[in-house]
Symmetry: C2
Subunit: 571 residues, 2 copies
């Protein structure tokens, strides 16, 4: 990846060259070729710095014509694919009885406080303009838990999905879909149910969703917090170090064991022998047979681990019924960042989403953590092995080459988060009976990464259905004399019949200009109107499809009164 | 409307009473009845203060379990209707060749600066946490203009729609759909076209959209900025007072002429005779025939007014072709708030949306301005005739009784906004040739108000299709013995076939509990599984529909292998 300063220099040189050519009156093609190079340089710079295209800021007396750092616009050509992803996920969620809720983009600051550990520094706060202190939501899980705590009777049982934007003041890597504003697509099941039944359905939903999105082969890594905690206990990790050692283990998908061990012992002061005992466990992975192996170890005597293993055994039974056990990898190195998980945890990775360049213990592709996993927070900045540079704002730059598209779905069981809100609201010294809360399990699909993956594919395919930026089916063309009133009349007839139709908003449009739109947007039908057609009460229709097949299309004459039904038959 | 303090007192009394009853061990029914009263009192208070339900804040050691002021959650039962509104609008927008874009929720502060006049004080700023200064978007129009200015070549011509949330630190009136976070649904046509052709299509879209939303009878008030400016010129308004006098005129839908006249003369120092001359014009309204009348006045000699009248004449020709002239009211009192309008302006009002209690000049129902009209900003706090009270945060309270649902769509032509951005980015002292910009015309549908109106209707109708919070078509019921694995297997078969199916996540669910869900959510089909059914490879199906009609439903036996096709035929 070229350095941003080098790219800036390249861009400046390119810009200077364009100006010189123009002032010398160089041939148009030469100037255009140079302008194209300049655009390319601008784009490279934008990708390298995570700043969107547009005018550069900071020039004297000029307004910065750009979006805020780490955010971007989505053009119509992006939106078609994005909406396809959202509607595919919505369809899967609804198939499983999901209903949706909407919560505000900002929450009271204290609602988010203390939920994200050290990642709380990434929360965007609203300015204090009088009144309450608020922050932009960091994920959709905490607002959901807050919603449940406020309405525990109405929503004691709910399957809810929520597709919406969340905000993190992280270092952006725009080309890999890591942004400061990005979408999350969450599905969670809340309610007191029998063990592993909702958990298995969530995993079933993950598999169905990733399958329907056609992102290619994927694996779902699963583990159980209670097994992990049991491992730490039997290996001799002091209780107060459990969570911090757990975070170290979670890095095994990005760092070799030697480095993780070093973090445990040197940074976190763990005994060397304890670290080695942990190492023997967390490098294990496999299927249900791994449970049998674990049961023969000292883990079998740890009550916590025993509970976790019973859960996993039951889970595998259910996953077999759903026919998805082969997608799973029981992976003892999966720990996940956030504290609030209490049961099974999981993370889906595609082969296409692995970041390059890490020597990892697991054979399953390794991952990078942020956007997909709202359930864990962005725990793993990938540049940790290098000394980070500072950018113009004094913020750390990320070396893009080390960032993969990352895990594409992640989540787990969190049985205590709702209860935490209920207890906090009931008062710290509070009532004698602690709020019972509502157990939850959920998944978050990392749609920005899914988009990156599918968009790459779509770009390679010229015939892709995502090439169109709108759905217009009919374009009404004036053959001569403008005929604006006639075109308007015809358009209104088609609109009233529910047909997607357009015409050029000119009194006397050029014939060629009208067909340019039709070709660019691949509008299926051109309806041609000339004075003769108007007089005879007919239209001439040219289908774009026949044309693409190289057929000579002379056009078909259709009676005006039959036009709507003619079109409806073919659309 | 009861006073908030009185409501708080009422609530406290009710709460005390509940505690007393409980401590006295009063009968359960009595306590429950009192709790219901308490809930009712809380709700009234929430509606009166615009603060959402939930725990009251400020109690020592307790967390405020609520959403931020002026924001709210939308429950699944709301979302079905909200999504219906969004999808109806999207369908209409796509029919007219619309494509959508997505822009960030926050923009650089300077992008929004100077676009909203005195309403800029309502903009939410993000806290300065290092880096760029940003603000939450106030509408979707300014971000759209910024997008066009950044991509003038790619999007020189675009019909774009955008359905998204915007933010205003205004005084909320939650029950009337006036909130600090609310949706806007915008459709705009950008491009150099022939006069009034895009403008007429926008009005056509408004009529189609409001028609398809089934909000009842409506009228679209239209006027032209150039006619208004011509009127001010011929009446003798000094040029520098044009915009402020225009704002005064815009209040004629809420205030009687005498008050508007007073504002013009006493507050704004306009000559009494000039005000009276204006009065004669701005009280006029009608159809195209009003143009003939105006042409006989001194307006005919004003070049500006002449241009506006030519536009209106052409517009009416096109509206006739679209068959929507009868929905229009050419209303010379319509002025709209924002400065950036340069051509026709419009505002749709329903008979259902009029606020009570104003003596107005026009016969068309009067309106209240905020959420629907992103094109004008929240120009008209309705409590202006009363001395506002202060609430707990020292902010003004709004007297709800004076606030109507308001105008439900509004917009106009703004030909210079995009050029403003392009010029500002090119530099103030800038290049010799001024950026040409891209002319635009657009409409914003006030969906929160549409929701309020339709929700009222839906609540009155028990059979309403919006009564369901999810779309589950099949609920799999265990008749006896739990049969969890069998239910899971069957569910997976249905999911794989694309059928929306659920079962209870219990190993041995109670028969009654399963049917409660079916009845509450009006699930069309219950598929019953008992040991006999499993053995014989059949299921028993009970249709909820027959039951509603009072038919005795013994259930139909269907072969397991035929179940999917049986269901698909009926769904």
């Amino acid at each position: 990846m070229a350095d941003a300063d080098a790219l800036r220099a390249k861009m400046k040189a390119s810009g200077d060259h364009v100006r010189t050519l123009k002032s010398q009156g160089a041939p148009k093609e030469q100037v255009e070729a140079e302008v194209a190079k300049l655009q390319e340089a601008k784009k490279e710079l934008a990708e390298a710095t995570g700043e969107p295209l547009g005018e550069e800021k900071g020039k004297k007396g000029r307004m910065a014509l750009k979006t805020a750092k780490g955010t971007r616009d989505w053009a119509p050509s992006d939106m078609a694919l994005r909406e396809h992803i959202f509607s595919t996920l919505t369809r899967v969620f609804k198939k499983h009885g999901g209903s949706t809720i909407d919560t505000p983009v900002f929450e009271l600051k204290e609602i988010l406080a203390g939920k994200y550990g050290e990642d709380s520094k990434l929360i965007y706060d609203l300015q204090d303009q009088g009144g309450e202190l608020c922050s932009l939501r960091y994920d959709l899980t905490v607002p959901f838990a807050r919603f449940l705590a406020m309405n525990p009777i109405h929503y004691a049982n709910i399957k809810r999905y929520h597709i919406a934007k969340v905000y993190r003041r992280d270092q952006p890597v725009m080309t890999k879909g890591r942004m400061r504003e990005f979408y999350q697509c969450d599905f969670d099941i809340a309610g007191h149910y029998d063990p592993m039944v909702p958990d298995a359905e969530i995993l079933c939903i993950v598999c169905e969703a990733l399958g329907e999105l056609e992102i290619g082969e994927f694996t779902v890594k699963i583990n159980h917090r209670k097994i992990l905690d049991g491992i730490f206990a039997v290996c001799g990790v002091p209780t107060e170090k459990t969570r911090t050692i757990s975070s170290a283990v979670d890095k095994l998908d990005k760092l070799p064991w030697a480095e993780v061990r070093k973090e445990m012992t040197e940074e976190k002061g763990l005994d060397h022998e304890v670290a080695d005992r942990i190492g023997k466990y967390v490098m294990l992975k496999g299927g249900p047979e791994l449970l049998d192996r674990l049961k023969k170890t000292e883990l079998a005597n740890n009550a916590m681990a025993k509970q976790g293993m019973d859960d996993m055994e039951l889970l595998f039974t259910y996953l077999d019924i759903y026919g998805i056990s082969d997608k799973m990898s029981f992976d003892l190195s999966l720990a996940r960042g956030l504290d609030y998980y209490t049961g099974i945890i999981y993370e889906a990775v595609t082969h296409a989403s692995a970041p390059p360049g890490f020597t990892t213990v697991p054979s399953v592709p390794s991952t990078e953590a942020q956007p997909s996993d709202h359930h864990s927070g962005p725990s793993a900045p990938s540049s940790k092995s290098k000394k980070p540079k500072k950018d113009a704002e004094g913020e750390e730059e990320v070396d893009e080459a080390t960032v993969g598209v990352g895990s594409i779905a992640a989540g787990g069981r969190y049985d205590e988060l709702v209860g935490m809100f209920m207890s906090a609201a009931a008062g710290a010294g509070g009532s004698s009976k602690k709020a019972a809360g509502i157990p939850c399990v959920g998944i978050s699909v990392g749609v920005e990464r899914v988009f990156s993956l599918l968009n790459q594919k779509a770009k390679a395919d010229e015939e892709s259905r995502w090439g169109r930026s709108k759905e217009t089916d009919v374009f009404i063309v004036a053959v001569a004399e403008g005929l604006l009133a006639e075109r308007m009349k015809l358009a209104k007839e088609l609109w009233d019949a529910g047909i997607k139709a357009e015409f050029m908003h000119k009194a006397k449009p050029k014939f060629r200009a009208q067909f340019e739109t039709i070709e660019k947007e691949r509008v299926p039908f051109a309806v041609l109107l000339g004075p003769d057609e108007v007089k005879q009460g007919v239209v001439k229709i040219k289908a774009q499809k026949g044309k693409e097949e190289g057929k000579e299309d002379e056009g078909e004459i259709v009676e005006r009164v039959c036009l709507v039904s003619w079109l409806k038959e073919r659309l």
